[in-house]
């Protein structure tokens, strides 16, 4: 018994010690975390002009402010990058367009309009663009933006050391950029500075859509001094861009705060005092309902509730269009989809209306063409391959395979990190089974491998499900990039000489109406040949508090916050 007691004390002592240790560790960890936070907040942009008393009011009330302060609260995603040259995702681009700006931008009608470039001239051969820059444009710190800055920006993006994943796509048309990316050239020869206000860009072929590519962040002007001073994370510490807003505060995982750029040249000037993006996550709907955020996107799980006219939220609902399409690619080089009749049968067997209504709650629009609504080149009257089970069976029977029983095994590849393929895919596979008596297996491949695979030539997949979002609003970005025989982006191996001829003609056609007519012809041929099963055009649903005025939802990512006003 004696022995037992001492033992007990020892054990107790040891464990209490352990607890104390653990607690101490906790405190130390916590201390470190707090210290880190302190550091993060001290990395706030050092603006040259003094804050005129907004510091206390703006930041301290930032997290719990009500609509009474002139501050907009949004739910944000953690930006993977704020560097315009590196951004390849929508989350990053959304912040970047507010912080930076470029030569041209898009207006509400998705037309290209001047931004930093006041004006531009295209040479008769369509190869040389001469931009005249505004003379009143400065970076956030007040230093002037000149043609030299654009030359630096483009050369930096095309520098392989920058590791830009998108320079090739958006700037690759500029003479010399591809060479520089391949480390063959020291500078981009297609960019010439005529004088501080004049920039000349030469491209490799008369591509009308080139200007549209310049509306994407990759071409947005950056400040050489800021880039070189800030090291790897310059954009998240002091981006010093020329956009309507500047970075006021960025607390990783907590919030990102934008403040108006007092030196902004554009029109209108921002009316908000602060824009706070809450990065710590959480259920957006709940935060909207408890007045913690002013704008929120509506997910599929909440859409029914919000669409119900009796819901108090219904009045705040806005529908937003996106230039994107979901589709199933049918590989024209692999049996059985090497036979157009089989491809058509697989198209006709899908009841898109039922799919969209029942499975996706009408949050998307059934797609019968390729180009999304609202975008130049969209054809609302396209015939398309509409649901017709009998016709589908007839086509399959008439095909070179002679019917469902002679088809080889078919696997539909979908992307994802393991996990369910999603009810949409399950429903589609079931429709093929029911209407064509064909059993299609679903195979899920992890995203990166999936992308690598479908970009291989030849593509190893028979059929694959993926989407496409417009990089810039031009039909070339859909039709030429995805269906031309020689295009790197053509993943289905679809090849039709007639389509190619139309696409090539459209590339250099300078008259816009004639160009759109050419694209429309091409689109109709592609749809009839059933290179894809076009599934749906995406649209979004957003809730906006009534006191938030002039919040725009353009289908492409362009600056919007400068228009926003809060009713008091």
């Amino acid at each position: 018994m004696e022995n037992n007691r001492t033992l007990m004390y020892v054990i107790l002592g040891g464990l209490v010690g352990l607890c104390v240790l653990a607690l101490a560790a906790l405190v130390i960890f916590g201390g470190v975390a707090l210290l880190n936070r302190g550091e993060e907040s001290s990395t706030v942009v050092a603006t040259t002009e003094t804050d005129q008393g907004t510091t206390t009011e703006g930041t301290s009330s930032g997290s719990s402010a009500t609509a009474s302060s002139n501050s907009l609260r949004l739910l944000g995603g953690e930006p993977p990058t704020l560097d315009p040259a590196l951004a390849s995702d929508a989350t990053s681009a959304n912040y970047i367009v507010e912080l930076f700006s470029g030569l041209v931008t898009l207006d509400e009608n998705v037309e290209i309009v001047p931004d930093i470039a006041a004006d531009w001239r295209v040479s008769d051969d369509g190869l040389t663009y001469t931009f005249t820059l505004r003379d009143d444009v400065t970076f956030a710190d007040g230093s002037a933006v000149t043609a030299e800055d654009f030359k630096y920006t483009i050369e930096r993006a095309c520098d392989p050391a920058t590791l830009s994943p998108v320079a090739d796509t958006y700037l690759g048309d500029i003479v010399g950029c591809k060479e520089k990316l391949g480390q063959a050239a020291g500078e981009v020869s297609g960019v010439r500075v005529i004088d501080p206000q004049t920039l000349e860009i030469t491209i490799d072929a008369p591509k009308v859509y080139f200007l549209a590519k310049l509306t994407y962040p990759t071409a947005f002007v950056v400040d050489q001094a800021a880039v070189q001073a800030g090291g790897n994370l310059w954009a998240t510490t002091n981006p010093n861009g020329s956009g309507p807003f500047r970075l006021d505060e960025y607390r990783f995982g907590e919030r990102l705060v934008l403040a108006p750029n007092e030196n902004y040249y554009g029109d209108p000037k921002p009316s908000l005092d602060r824009v706070t993006y809450i990065l710590s996550g959480g259920s957006g709907m709940t935060m909207y309902e408890t007045d913690e955020v002013d704008v929120v996107g509506v997910g599929l799980g909440d859409i029914d509730r919000v669409l119900d006219p009796s819901s108090p939220l219904n009045a705040d609902l806005r529908e937003v269009s996106e230039f994107s399409i979901g589709y199933i690619g049918l590989n024209a080089n692999q049996p059985p989809f090497d036979d157009p009749q089989v491809r058509q049968a697989f198209n006709l067997a899908i009841d898109k209306e039922a799919l969209v209504t029942a499975v996706l709650n009408d949050t998307v629009v059934p797609a019968y063409g390729i180009i999304p609504p609202g975008m130049p080149g969209h054809d609302p009257n396209i015939e398309g391959l509409r649901f017709n089970a009998e016709e589908a069976q007839r086509l399959l029977a008439e095909s070179s395979y002679g019917g469902a029983e002679n088809l080889p095994d078919i696997t539909l590849h979908v992307s994802g990190a393991g996990g369910a393929a999603g009810p949409q895919i399950e429903a589609i596979v079931e429709m093929w089974k029911r209407n064509l008596a064909v059993d299609v297996a679903i195979e899920q491949t992890e995203w990166a491998t999936f992308l690598t695979d479908i970009d291989r030539r030849p593509n190893p997949y028979q059929a694959f499900s993926i989407g496409w979002i417009a990089d810039y609003p031009d039909p070339e970005n859909f039709l030429d990039l995805l269906f031309h025989c020689d295009s790197l982006g053509n993943r289905t191996g679809y090849c039709n000489a007639e389509v190619d001829a139309l696409l090539e003609e459209a590339r250099v056609e300078q008259d816009n109406d004639a160009r759109m007519a050419l694209y429309d012809q091409a689109q109709q041929l592609i749809v009839q040949d059933a290179a894809w099963v076009p599934l749906w055009f995406n649209k979004g649903y957003v809730l906006v508090k009534p006191y938030v005025q002039d919040y725009r939802f353009p289908p492409t990512i362009v600056p919007t916050l400068k228009y926003v006003k809060l009713a008091q």
Binding site: M1, L15, N36, R37, L163, P165, T169, F252, G253, E446
Partner: protein, 309 residues
């Protein structure tokens, strides 16, 4: 005893090295190429090769592993590849670890606070309807996992009676109530069951009978003799649970939108961000291994039968 201690202490780093090796191998041979994912597929092969070289992914396996371990020892877990490209993982972990630790520690303490008294009551009234009722409730609580309880509680307390919220507003905000109560159920059940079992056993033993025979009051017997003896294994369990604290809680944090390391782990898994997954695994393994070692040592000291030789 000393030999045993030294042996265990020497084994610890080896254990952690093996765990790091396993994680490292899975990261390297697992599905998905993080480089492709980061650069996108339309990037040129030059850039891919450059980034691969820059991140040191083109070198022999053992070299990469060696360097990784060398850095990890100094607290440098490298950079995130896909989730937050270029962010040092140490920075990613710091704030999140703090959030997870807060929730889990409070949950653990709450679990002990309620679990032990429940266990005592059940042991004192054992084999009565009260005991059955309590134990029934306890088993119920551990049988229904968080992903079953959460939708029910969320529906009740967020949708029907909007009291609580989703997200994170610090330990003192009402948003912390739901995750903490859900997470405290597990420890609560373990404590209640163990307390009941241990106390019931102790109460049968000779020295308790002796104490009672001496004419000590029932309260004294219970508090000074029985409880104290019954507590020892509980403290051990507490130690083990402390070790598990850093693992956060994958499901609760994700479903409730709490920015802790559990959710980071889930996000990293979906993005196939192996450096983050590796760092988390190592962190959790260190927590477990240290706690395990301490508990094992205590056990070896307490019970010679289990002493490992």
């Amino acid at each position: 005893m000393l030999v045993y201690l030294i042996r265990r202490l020497l084994w610890m780093p080896i254990l952690l090295l093996i765990i790091a090796l396993l994680t490292f191998a899975i990261g390297l041979y697992g599905p998905g190429d993080p480089i492709q994912q980061r650069l996108g597929t339309r990037s040129n092969p030059e850039a891919v090769a450059r980034l691969r070289a820059e991140l040191g992914l083109d070198r022999p396996f053992l070299m990469q592993y060696g360097e990784y371990v060398g850095k990890a020892v100094r607290g440098d877990f490298g950079e995130s590849i896909t989730l937050f490209p270029g962010k040092p993982i140490r920075e990613l972990l710091a704030g999140r670890l703090w959030v997870s630790l807060q929730i889990n520690l409070v949950a653990l303490l709450l679990g002990a606070f309620f679990g032990i008294p429940i266990g005592i009551v059940a042991a004192l009234f054992r084999n009565t309807p009260l005991d059955y009722f309590l134990m029934f409730g306890i088993v119920l609580a551990i049988s229904f996992p968080t992903f079953v309880l959460l939708p029910i509680l969320m529906w009740l307390f967020i949708e029907q009676i909007p009291l609580l919220g989703v997200g994170w507003g610090g330990l003192l905000s009402s948003k912390a109530i739901l995750p903490i109560s859900v997470l405290s159920l597990g420890p609560l059940a373990v404590y209640a069951r163990q307390t009941r079992a241990n106390l019931a056993e102790v109460l049968e033993q000779d020295f308790i009978r002796t104490a009672r025979g001496k004419g000590l009051s029932e309260t004294t017997v219970l508090l000074r003799h029985a409880l104290r003896n019954a507590m020892i294994p509980l403290i051990t369990i507490f130690g083990l649970m402390l070790g598990g604290l850093v693992s956060g809680s994958f499901i609760t944090e994700t479903l409730l939108g709490i920015p802790g390391i559990g959710r980071l782990g889930v996000d990293a898994f979906y993005a196939r961000d192996y450096p983050i997954i590796m760092a988390l695994t190592l962190l959790i393994a260190v927590g477990y291994a240290v706690a395990n070692l301490l508990v094992d040592l205590l056990y070896a000291y307490a019970d010679p039968r289990i002493r490992v030789q």
